[in-house]
């Protein structure tokens, strides 16, 4: 019974923190400098690595799909396959997982260390609401930066696919590009761009929540960090399913 009670309590606290993080945006005081700093850490900081994984994801997609498409004599559709898979699924999800591993864990361990060294308490004692100074800037930065990072991943993925198609599959680049562009519709872009908003929110809020509920010294910080990464991975994948489902339903 205690186990269930505790589970419900945790979910409730997570939602309360999320609601406060959002409502803080509409009512001051706001911490613009902290927000910009977080946007830099999450956005610029993840740029290179996201571009890198995007590039190789696109490349391997082209490599693998060309083999299957060859059986149907449809190698020309490689661009379409790479483009659609990247923009709808792999771009958003892989970027989110990368950022969850990089920044979600960073957020959890930073806030966790602040909890165990009583810096969060000190902040409250000095008259600052930690949800305003720490949570909202991270939430805002992650939800705005993740879509941009996803665009980067998508672009580099298409480029990776293009290079593989051109140099390995001996497809003409214009064929690759036109088949990719023709396949991508407004709906796909909507899907591909709405996911990272949600994923970014999940990553930042899970990181903040796990960090802020840290207890038990430095060992607790390690535990919170692990929990934050595992939980945000799980939630991102589950959310991905439901967002895809909703958008597919909207279409018909």
């Amino acid at each position: 019974m205690n186990f269930i009670y505790r589970g419900v309590y945790e979910v409730q606290q997570f939602f309360l923190l999320s609601v406060r993080a959002i409502t803080n945006i509409f009512r001051g005081p706001r911490y613009y400098y902290d927000t910009l700093q977080q946007m830099d850490v999450i956005g610029i900081g993840s740029l290179k690595v996201v571009a890198l994984i995007g590039f190789f994801t696109g490349a391997v997609l082209a490599l693998q799909s060309a083999k299957s498409l060859k059986a149907f004599g449809a190698v020309g559709l490689t661009g379409q396959l790479v483009g659609l898979s990247l923009i709808k699924e792999l771009g958003p999800v892989l970027t989110a997982l990368m950022v969850a591993g990089r920044n979600g864990s960073g957020i959890a361990s930073e806030l966790g260390s602040m909890v165990v060294t009583e810096q969060i308490s000190a902040m409250r004692a000095l008259g600052t609401d930690p949800t305003r100074k720490l949570v909202t800037p991270r939430m805002f930065a992650a939800t705005t930066m993740l879509p941009l990072l996803t665009v980067m991943a998508d672009m580099f993925g298409l480029l990776g696919g293009l290079l593989v198609s051109a140099y390995r599959l001996r497809l003409s680049t214009s064929l690759y590009w036109s088949s990719a562009m023709k396949a991508i519709e407004y709906n796909n872009i909507l899907e591909g761009m709405s996911k990272p908003f949600i994923f970014g929110f999940i990553i930042a809020m899970v990181g903040c929540y796990c960090g802020l509920r840290t207890h038990g010294g430095t060992q607790g910080v390690g535990r919170s960090t692990t929990q934050a990464v595992v939980l945000s991975y799980i939630l991102v994948i589950i959310a991905d399913f439901f967002v895809s489902k909703i958008i597919l339903d909207l279409r018909y």
Partner: protein, 272 residues
């Protein structure tokens, strides 16, 4: 309903209980701190003494009972009201709890910059004055990680003094420090008590520090120099009293002389 506290008590806890999940920390605490009085709260680890200061500051809510700060019951207050209330209070945390992304000067200036009503010159002047008070003005541009444990505690005291709070709360400010640094911290606390009339709660398990506070006082010599004098048998400091906590209850409250003469087995063992 409990009547409001008499005017002399600046902090008053009435039958306060607190538990975390199934672990009971405080089982009915009554505590009074008079104006300009220092209450030294002693007790073993896990006795719940640190929880007392967190409750007074409103960082945590009690399960039952009332807490009066400066005549106002803070238990029903929401976080925003508590923020206002906390301006009257300075708190020194265990290990200092300095923000490690900010320099020493920025740490001390934090509260003033948050309030956004002071210009940079005013902030700078206050920061220099307070760091001078704790003897650390040269360290203004250092990062907290470069400081020793004792220096961090002193910076924390300086940070807590921003806004001249009437009440100071100390959570084990001397834990893990060498005797000389402990002495420096105690002298700062005595100076605040005797020269500034600050009321305080000093939570500690360091008996040497506790008895230093209870047996010495500060006077200002005509030249402006501060001197520390002992009680020497004729005097008895009444502005510093002890409260001993054990298993979430107050075991004893009174002066250090009374504490030493008690016949309680646990207290004797604790003091020896």
């Amino acid at each position: 309903m409990t009547p409001p506290p008499p005017d002399s008590a600046i902090i008053k806890l009435v039958n306060v209980t607190k538990s975390y999940w199934d672990q009971v920390v405080l089982r009915g605490i009554d505590l009074n701190v008079a104006k300009a009085e220092t209450k030294v709260v002693i007790g073993g680890s896990g006795s719940g003494k640190s929880t007392i200061v967190k409750l007074i500051l409103g960082l945590e809510k009690p399960d039952s009972g009332q807490i009066f700060v400066d005549g106002e019951d803070i238990t029903p207050l929401k976080e925003e009201k508590l923020m206002q209330m906390r301006k009257k209070i300075g708190m020194v945390f265990q290990e200092g709890a300095l923000f490690d992304s900010l320099t020493v000067g920025e740490n001390v200036a934090y509260k003033m910059r948050e309030e956004e009503i002071f210009n940079e010159e005013e902030v700078e002047a206050v920061v220099r004055r307070l760091l001078g008070f704790v003897g650390l003005e040269p360290a203004i541009d250092k990062m907290p990680a470069e400081l020793s444990g004792g220096m961090r505690r002193r910076v924390a005291i300086a940070r807590a003094l921003v806004g001249n709070p009437k009440i100071m709360l100390y959570d084990e400010p001397t834990a893990g420090l060498d005797p000389i640094t402990t002495r420096t911290i105690c002298e700062l606390v005595i100076k605040l008590r005797d020269l500034e009339g600050v009321s305080s709660v000093f939570v500690t398990h360091d008996l040497k520090a506790a008895f230093t506070l209870a047996s010495e006082f500060a006077v200002v010599r005509p030249g402006g120099e501060v001197e520390f004098l002992g009680e020497d048998g004729r005097l008895c400091l009444i502005n510093t009293r002890f409260a001993m906590v054990r298993d979430g209850k107050i075991l004893f409250e009174g002066t250090d002389e009374k504490l030493r003469n008690l016949e309680d087995e646990y207290i004797k063992e604790f003091l020896s």
